[in-house]
């Protein structure tokens, strides 16, 4: 996985170098997000949504590509609001723009944490604002076999704030030391889902079928925008649980885990 990322970075870098002549900036994410999820033509805009894999509950990295009728990339400010319509009510979910909200060469990258799947309960869409136009892009969000998102409500806090914890890394877990990355958000209102930056996390990997953990793990610490990085060790292949205890100013908020298989 690491080498893949390096390769992408290298590819991106070389493209930046070679593309200087053309005065273009190529967004590297475009290379990663190569799977077209959905595309529409509306209000004179040709919009396509790209991702690494079909959208699912949890953390999704995506890129929007917006062009006009003449197939020229659009530039300017953009905004995206994910929205779930549950007929009796509507709510959004966490979203982040790691490279800003500017459309560059017709592209804007963003990450979204879908907190529930599409289905009988309701349907997801992305509300996209470009210039003065607002376009609703319906999307399908599936429930993955192995969830990489967990939520918890803490009784030691206000018994009401709901935290959403996403497992970003390891994407492809291996025996030995793995990078661990989680992103944590909370639900402040139906429409506000800010990143949570002031937590402490205690990490305990666990192998349930043998009742053992692993040594020398590094607890994830906050890096930026609710993203926490650490190291997780696996001493063998098999089914592991990554247990995370969340703490806020010495108060234990609660524990959650992700199960992974490799």
């Amino acid at each position: 996985m690491k080498s893949f990322k390096n390769y992408i970075a290298l590819l991106g870098l070389s493209m930046v170098i070679f593309s200087c002549d053309h005065e273009e900036n190529i967004v590297p994410e475009q290379e990663i997000n190569s799977l077209q999820i959905v595309a529409i033509d509306e209000e004179g805009l040709n919009i396509s949504l790209l991702a690494q894999k079909p959208l699912e509950v949890g953390f999704n990295e995506m890129t929007l590509s917006i062009k006009n009728e003449n197939d020229n990339p659009i530039s300017g400010q953009g905004d995206i609001v994910p929205m779930m319509d549950m007929s009796t009510m509507k709510h959004s979910c966490p979203i982040e723009f790691p490279a800003g909200m500017e459309l560059i060469n017709g592209h804007i990258s963003f990450n979204t944490v879908f907190v529930m799947p599409s289905g009988d309960m309701g349907s997801w869409s992305l509300n996209i604002s470009v210039g003065d136009k607002i376009i609703e892009l319906p999307i399908e969000v599936a429930q993955p076999d192995q969830s990489r998102m967990a939520s918890l409500v803490s009784s030691s806090e206000d018994n009401e704030t709901k935290y959403f914890i996403c497992l970003l890394d390891p994407l492809k877990p291996e025996v030995g030391q793995n990078d661990l990355q989680v992103a944590i958000f909370k639900k402040q209102s139906m429409m506000e889902w800010p990143a949570v930056e002031n937590l402490e996390i205690k990490l305990t990997p666990w192998m349930p079928s043998m009742d053992h953990g692993s040594p020398n793990n590094i607890n994830p610490a906050h890096v930026k925008d609710g993203h926490y990085m650490g190291k997780v060790n696996f001493t063998m292949t098999g089914t592991w649980q990554i247990n995370l205890m969340l703490k806020k100013k010495e108060i234990e908020l609660g524990e959650t885990y992700f199960e992974i298989n490799f």
Binding site: V175, G176, G213, N216, M236, T237
Partner: protein
């Protein structure tokens, strides 16, 4: 004449002695008389009981007795030797302990060929691949004396194989052997054929052994103590020229369904194959009596728990090793008063062991680990020994060994595993090992000889100590993790040996001290958690500051006029670790006494063995005290000839009073066998 110049023995056996030029031979014999022994080999146990040549020698030593009366299997034979004990995990494949130190610390070889067992739990010490019927002799050395064997800190065990014999008077010879042990309802059969014709001689042998569960001294059946094995050998000697020999040996060993009651697992199969090719000639340039040898061997081992009743989790644990190497040895200088011998040797070895665990909950994935992550090792060594006779009373011998080793792993998966401990195994670890010794031998009278020995030696960590990954040790109930960055272990060895010998009485004694530095020991790591279900914790191998062992052996033989004799032997070791606590698995004081009574060509041998309590136990190793015990045995032996056929019958009762006992160093809480009636019939033509 207890210890004989190995090379000469070999030549005797080959039957080429008369082919040497007469003056060479005379020089050799006078040399032998002056030297008496190879000082670095403590015991050379001659085992040619049914030797077909006429060169049979009566040496009347203590070891000579044991090979005749206790040579039914290799465990039993080794167990009797002074300074040696057999650590058991079941009724099969004991691990020899040399003065209380296990096979991690000494060098094991078969005819100088290095070999490594393929079991991470040491179910297959190399001795288990050798059968007594195929042995000419066993060289036992202690401490850092024997620099020729390789780099170890606790000595060496070398098994010399029986060779095909050139015998013009009897071109065909054969022997057969049948053994029954009542305690395990075990039958052993073996056959052995020797054929010699002109320039070619060969020997074939086959052994089959099968035993059921044995009964301990309380009359309880020890479950999972059964075993079955086949061993087969083909040896070939070709006389290239009058004084040049080409020799080839093949050994195959195939054990199956072997139970290890002290361990959580058994063995589905353990297979070993060895190939050795050597060339002997009188001289190459300046080198006298050189031997050139090339060899290869491999071991496949599969552990199995499918026959156990209550398995918490089913596991597959296969392991394998293969080793190739060669050596050149000979004398650079050999005169009537001094000799300079050398050996250049090289080997490389590969070891891989894996562990697949099958969870009881079928939703959970299979689990996999590499317990020996494709470990590769190479070692090249140079040994030199110089012996000088000063005058009629004094001689000294001195020697050195330099060895360069490289160790690394070649598995990416193994490298990932090590990242958990922030270690790497792929980068090559090189070590220079050094070994030096000097012995002063004082012979003030023909009946007395005293030897002072000073020696220093080093060893690299074993494969498990360096690269083992969560290896479970049932003895202290901990998982062991290796450390790739371990330093070498050093031993300063001091020893005094005395021997008083008259025609009636022999008393020999050895007193030794081992002063270890960087002694490699598993140290409990409170911050780590056991992997094995039920294990208490994790130990990591570390270079502990020091360890000290001292002790000794006394043995004596007293011959009566009637041809009967008494034998007595005593062994004791005291060991303490870096915190002055007792070292684990150290045998207590043990005394053996026997009387060999000759009546009408038969021998009747009552035996007593007494072992003291062991109250010095290692708490770090979860050891318990072990009680003292007395054992009584009675053996009878009768040999006779009918026409040209030789018969030998051994029989008797071991553990007559059915004592329930265990040796302190045995694994688990398993008792040793109770009363055993045995009979052995050998026929030789």
């Amino acid at each position: 004449m207890r210890r004989i110049k190995t090379l000469l023995t070999l030549i005797y056996i080959y039957g080429v002695l008369p082919l040497f030029a007469q003056e060479d031979l005379l020089a050799y014999e006078s040399w032998l008389d002056s030297m008496k022994r190879e000082n670095y080999i403590a015991w050379e146990v001659m085992l040619d009981d049914l030797e077909i040549t006429d060169n049979e020698k009566k040496n009347g030593s203590i070891a000579d007795h044991y090979r005749k009366y206790n040579g039914r299997d290799i465990d039993q034979l080794l167990h009797c030797l002074p300074g040696v004990g057999m650590m058991r995990r079941g009724n099969f494949a004991g691990e020899p302990l040399l003065r209380g130190l296990n096979s991690d610390r000494y060098v094991v070889s078969v005819e100088g060929m290095r070999m490594f067992g393929a079991c991470t739990d040491k179910m297959d010490p190399v001795a288990s691949y050798i059968e007594p019927i195929n042995l000419k002799s066993i060289d036992v050395s202690f401490g850092t004396q024997n620099n020729m064997a390789g780099a170890g800190t606790a000595g060496g065990l070398n098994f010399n194989l029986r060779k095909p014999v050139f015998n013009t008077e009897r071109p065909y010879a054969a022997s057969a052997d049948l053994i029954y042990n009542s305690v395990s309802n075990g039958f052993d059969q073996s056959v052995d054929v020797n054929v010699s014709k002109n320039k070619l001689a060969f020997r074939l042998s086959g052994v089959h052994r099968k035993a059921q569960n044995y009964l301990d001294g309380n009359g309880n059946e020890v479950r999972y103590s059964q075993f079955e094995k086949f061993n087969y050998i083909a040896s070939l000697v070709y006389r290239v020229k009058e004084d040049q020999l080409l020799s080839f040996d093949f050994i195959g060993d195939d054990a199956r369904d072997v139970g290890y009651p002290a361990l959580p697992m058994d063995v589905a199969y353990a297979k070993a194959k060895m190939f050795g090719l050597s060339y002997l000639l009188p001289r190459i340039g300046y080198i006298k009596n050189p031997e050139i040898k090339l060899y290869h061997n491999f071991v496949n081992h599969a552990m199995d728990d499918t026959n156990r009743d209550s398995v918490v989790m089913h596991m597959d644990m296969p392991g394998r090793t293969h080793t190739s190497g060669g050596f050149l040895k000979g004398d650079l200088f050999s005169g009537s008063k001094s000799q300079l011998a050398f050996k250049i040797d090289y080997f490389n070895t590969f070891a891989r062991a894996e562990m697949t665990m099958f969870p009881n909950d079928s939703d959970q994935a299979e689990m996999f680990m590499l317990t020996w992550p494709n470990v590769r090792r190479q070692a090249a060594g140079l040994s030199m020994n110089f012996d000088q006779k000063m005058n009629d009373n004094w001689m000294f011998t001195t020697g050195l060994r330099w060895e360069n080793t490289v160790s690394f792993i070649s598995s990416d998966f193994g490298e990932q595993q090590l990242s958990v401990f922030d270690k790497t195994g792929k980068s090559k670890r090189r070590n220079w090992l050094q070994n030096y010794h000097i012995n002063f031998i004082w012979t003030p009278a023909t009946s007395f000889e005293s030897t002072l020995m000073l020696a220093y030696g080093e060893r690299i960590p074993t494969i498990s100590e360096q690269f083992g990954y969560y290896l479970y040790n049932v003895a202290d109930n901990h998982d062991y993790v290796g450390d790739p960055d371990l330093k070498t272990e050093k031993n300063f060895h001091l020893e005094v040996r005395n021997e008083y010998k008259t025609s009636k009485l022999t008393i020999s004694s050895a007193l030794f001290a081992y002063l270890f530095r960087d002694y490699i020991l598993g140290i409990y790591q409170p911050e780590y958690e056991a992997m094995t279900l039920g294990a208490e914790g994790v130990k990591m191998y570390e270079n502990t500051k020091r360890a000290t062992l001292f002790g000794g052996e006394v043995s004596s033989r007293y011959d009566l006029n009637s041809g009967s004799y008494f034998l007595m032997s005593l062994k004791y070791v005291y060991g303490r670790d870096f915190e002055s606590d007792p070292l684990p698995q150290i045998p207590p004081l043990k005394v053996n006494l026997l009387y060999n009574l000759g009546i009408h060509g038969a021998y009747l041998t009552p035996e007593v063995e007494w072992s003291a309590d062991q109250n010095r136990v290692s708490q770090k190793f979860n050891e318990r005290k072990t009680n003292s015990y007395w054992l009584f045995n009675l053996r009878v032996n009768k040999e006779f000839f009918q026409n040209k056929t030789r018969f030998e019958i051994n029989g008797g009762v071991e553990n007559i009073f059915n004592v329930a006992y265990r040796e302190h160093y045995d694994y688990g809480n398993i008792l040793r066998p109770g009363r055993n009636f045995f009979v052995q019939i050998k026929v030789g033509i």
